[in-house]
């Protein structure tokens, strides 16, 4: 069995800005998605891969931010080495990987290295990727997903040879349509990846010497600087993921991702879900420390965090309720995220509409209440983003409440 390692690219505080206002209080990798930190999902999927010895998380967050999660993850997956490596300087995704190459390649030396972007919600088909990867002689296998034609240009677009699954062309966020298959943010590389990064680095240095427009820095991006030449050299292959896939860029997308992961849990981790009943409509995740009144109706697609109190006659559907929040009598929360330590008064209604697949600019779909927001009794908040520590006593719709 080939030694395998996993790398999760967690980004940094300057990254998850579109996750605001949620990421104001909670770093993006730790935002609860389906009741678990965002980063837990790729991590737990990696932990199931046969022969995987180690998972390395790379990011810009301070060590203290990640320490709690790392400790818990080590407890949950005791047979796997889990560590966090902090980048101090922006090196780009490939630059960061190269910077930490010694840590990644230390014995047992991995034959295969999985690399996952943090903001991907999918079923992580690692086993299937290994199966394809072991059949070809390329450097890497990328997970490709098919998206709607209109949405494709927002991602890295992939053209493959349908016979061989070989990648023939790659363009990051093209100006015009190239293909419906896009980079799913999950890769499997041979350890020779680092040689390829080295080549890309040398080329960049050489170009910088000739071309005054190219900055002579160490920033090297995995997509544009490494995968593009690998595609041209026919050294990349594509595994087509036919299961669910979603990128989590905005706070609203965490509601969609939660519902996708909860549906997946009903197959993979049914013990994590609450038992369905006349008032619990599956799939629903309820933290064991939350208190739910028996007359409240919860679900489907709801994740309720630790210490949450849900009073009588409350309705929650397609929503995320974060730690320490209280939903008072008869309140309704639909298509929304209620941040930590909020109070939603009796008969208040927090409402939105499902996140559209191609996000329309300037329109708020899902309502997001940040931390410690208080809603007066009977108030309506619809398709709003409410910043921390606000007390709302008037109805609001379609606005950002500062």
């Amino acid at each position: 069995m080939a030694v395998t390692k996993g790398v999760i690219l967690a980004g940094g505080p300057s990254k998850g800005t579109r996750m605001r206002p949620l990421s104001l209080d909670c770093p993006k990798p730790l935002l609860p998605i389906a009741g678990k930190p965002m980063i837990w999902h790729p991590l737990s999927a990696l932990a199931k891969v046969e022969g995987l010895t180690e998972i390395i998380i790379i990011g810009f967050y301070e060590d203290s931010v990640m320490a709690g999660f790392i400790k818990e993850a080590k407890r949950e997956f005791p047979n796997i080495g889990i560590s966090y490596l902090r980048e101090y300087k922006a090196l780009g995704t490939a630059g960061g990987l190269y910077h930490f190459r010694d840590s990644i390649l230390r014995p047992p030396v991995p034959q295969n290295i999985f690399i996952c972007n943090i903001d991907i919600c999918c079923s992580f088909p690692f086993t299937e990727m290994i199966a394809l990867h072991s059949k070809h002689r390329g450097v890497g296998t990328i997970m490709g997903v098919n998206v709607k034609r209109e949405a494709a240009v927002k991602y890295g677009c992939i053209v493959t040879d349908p016979e061989t699954q070989q990648m023939v062309h790659y363009v990051e966020k093209p100006e015009s349509w190239i293909s419906n298959m896009v980079n799913g943010g999950v890769y499997l590389f041979d350890k020779s990846l680092f040689d390829e990064i080295k080549v890309a680095m040398d080329e960049k240095t050489a170009r910088a010497a000739e071309d005054p427009l190219v900055k002579p820095d160490e920033i090297l991006r995995l997509e544009q600087d490494v995968i593009v030449p690998l595609a041209a050299a026919k050294k990349m292959y594509v595994y087509e993921c036919k299961d669910f896939w979603r990128q989590m860029k905005t706070a609203a997308s965490s509601v969609t991702a939660t519902s996708l992961y909860l549906s997946q849990f009903s197959k993979t981790n049914p013990d994590l879900l609450s038992k369905p009943s006349s008032t619990i409509l599956a799939p629903v995740y309820i933290d064991p420390s939350a208190t739910i009144h028996p007359t409240a109706k919860i679900g489907p697609n709801v994740a309720i965090g630790p210490g949450v109190i849900v009073e009588e006659g409350v309705r929650v559907k397609d929503a995320i309720i974060l730690e320490g929040t209280t939903l008072e009598k008869h309140a309704a929360v639909l298509n929304s995220i209620v941040g930590a330590n909020c109070v939603v008064g009796p008969w208040a209604r927090v409402d939105g509409f499902p996140e559209p697949e191609d996000d329309a600019k300037g329109q708020i779909s899902v309502t997001i209440l940040a931390t410690e927001v208080t809603l007066a009794p009977e108030t309506l908040v619809r398709s709003c983003i409410v910043l921390p520590n606000k007390t709302l006593s008037k109805n609001s719709a379609n606005q950002v409440l500062l």
């Binding site: 007359t295 008869h330 309704a332 639909l334 009796p346 008969w347 009977e378 719709a397």
Partner: protein
């Protein structure tokens, strides 16, 4: 709402609007009532048959074959109105108030002129016809339609009393009583104005219907009327001004009021919150729904955890599915709503 039920029969505070008027007229000694209508709905005939028997009065239907304006119908009913010398009242069916007909009649008889107009004070008279009297007198000097400058704040309340001689001034053709008849009587100094004390409301529009309901409920509260639900005996009453038909079924965990009317056989579920709204007969409001500033029509069904507000009017037999938000919708009868209505509109 008028699509399924003749407007005069729409219940205002659980009693058909026309019955409020008929009862007040009977109290003032009226024996003959003429209903000027442009059609003669059978349902109205049968309702009023009972009223005739109950009060020992005669109700005549005077059916227009062409629209006759506001004065023409009086000429059409000339035979009944002019059968003797006694004066008669004229009422617009959309108007609700405390109907002080006895005092109005006494006033009319005392001044011995041809006509009297009930006037009410409004804060913003610019949208109405203002009645201007001669200084220090109740004799009407002139009418100013939608005044640009302030000339007074007394407006025509749509309730009049006339001697039968007025009928000689009206021809049987489409005529406006306000524009054609009144100026002529006023010119002869035969028209007086009578100040209405207490509330007055033209309840033809849903918004005004709700405001009128609130005024009427407040009036009943000030009278300590037994028609109102006693908050001391019903813990679910919140803030008073609540009128619930005894046949309605109210869950004790609901919170109702202020300013709510609930009709016969209506059913209000657990955890429902109602304020400033009218729930017509046989309607069902299901668990945890929240309704404000709205009218729920007969036999309608409002789903669980819905929020209905902002002058929403549900016609007869409308269904709102669970968990929806309905903002300012006018929903025609027999419709079923299954997606939220976030901005005010008519649902056909």
């Amino acid at each position: 709402m008028q699509l399924s039920w003749p407007k005069p029969l729409v219940e205002f505070c659980n009693k058909a609007m026309i019955l409020h008027q008929i009862e007040a007229l009977v109290k003032a000694g009226v024996k003959d009532i003429v209903l000027a209508v442009n059609y003669r709905p059978e349902v109205m005939v049968s309702v009023l048959k009972k009223t005739e028997e109950e009060f020992g009065i005669t109700i005549h239907f005077s059916v227009e074959t062409e629209p006759l304006g506001t004065a023409g119908p009086l000429a059409l009913a000339r035979e009944i109105l002019g059968k003797d010398d006694s004066p008669f009242f004229v009422l617009n069916s959309d108007v609700t108030c405390v109907y002080p007909f006895e005092a109005f009649r006494d006033f009319h008889l005392a001044h011995k002129c041809e006509g009297s107009i009930m006037v009410t004070k409004v804060a913003e008279p610019s949208a109405y016809g203002v009645v201007v009297t001669k200084p220090g007198s109740t004799v009407i000097d002139r009418f100013v339609e939608k005044p640009v400058e302030f000339v007074g704040n007394r407006i025509n309340a749509g309730i009049y009393m006339f001697n039968p001689s007025v009928l000689d001034r009206i021809e049987l053709r489409p005529t406006s009583i306000e524009k054609e008849v009144f100026p002529a009587i006023a010119a002869d100094q035969q028209l007086h104005s009578f100040d209405l004390q207490g509330f007055w409301m033209d309840v033809g529009q849903p918004k005004d219907f709700l405001s009128g309901t609130c005024l009427y409920l407040s009036h009943l509260t000030s009278q300590h009327s037994p028609l109102l639900t006693d908050p001391a005996k019903n813990k679910w009453v919140y803030g008073g001004n609540v009128m619930v038909d005894p046949s309605a079924d109210i869950d004790p965990t609901a919170v109702i009021g202020p300013n709510v009317v609930i009709g016969p056989d209506a059913k209000i579920g657990p955890g429902v919150r109602l304020q400033r709204c009218v729930i017509m007969s046989n309607a069902v409001v299901r668990d945890h729904a929240w309704i404000a500033n709205s009218i729920v029509g007969w036999n309608s069904n409002v789903g669980r955890w819905t929020r209905v507000e902002n002058i929403t009017v549900l016609g007869d037999d409308v269904t709102i599915k669970d968990e929806l938000y309905v903002n300012g919708a006018s929903v025609l009868p027999h419709k079923s709503i299954s997606t939220s209505i976030t901005e005010p509109r008519i649902v056909m």
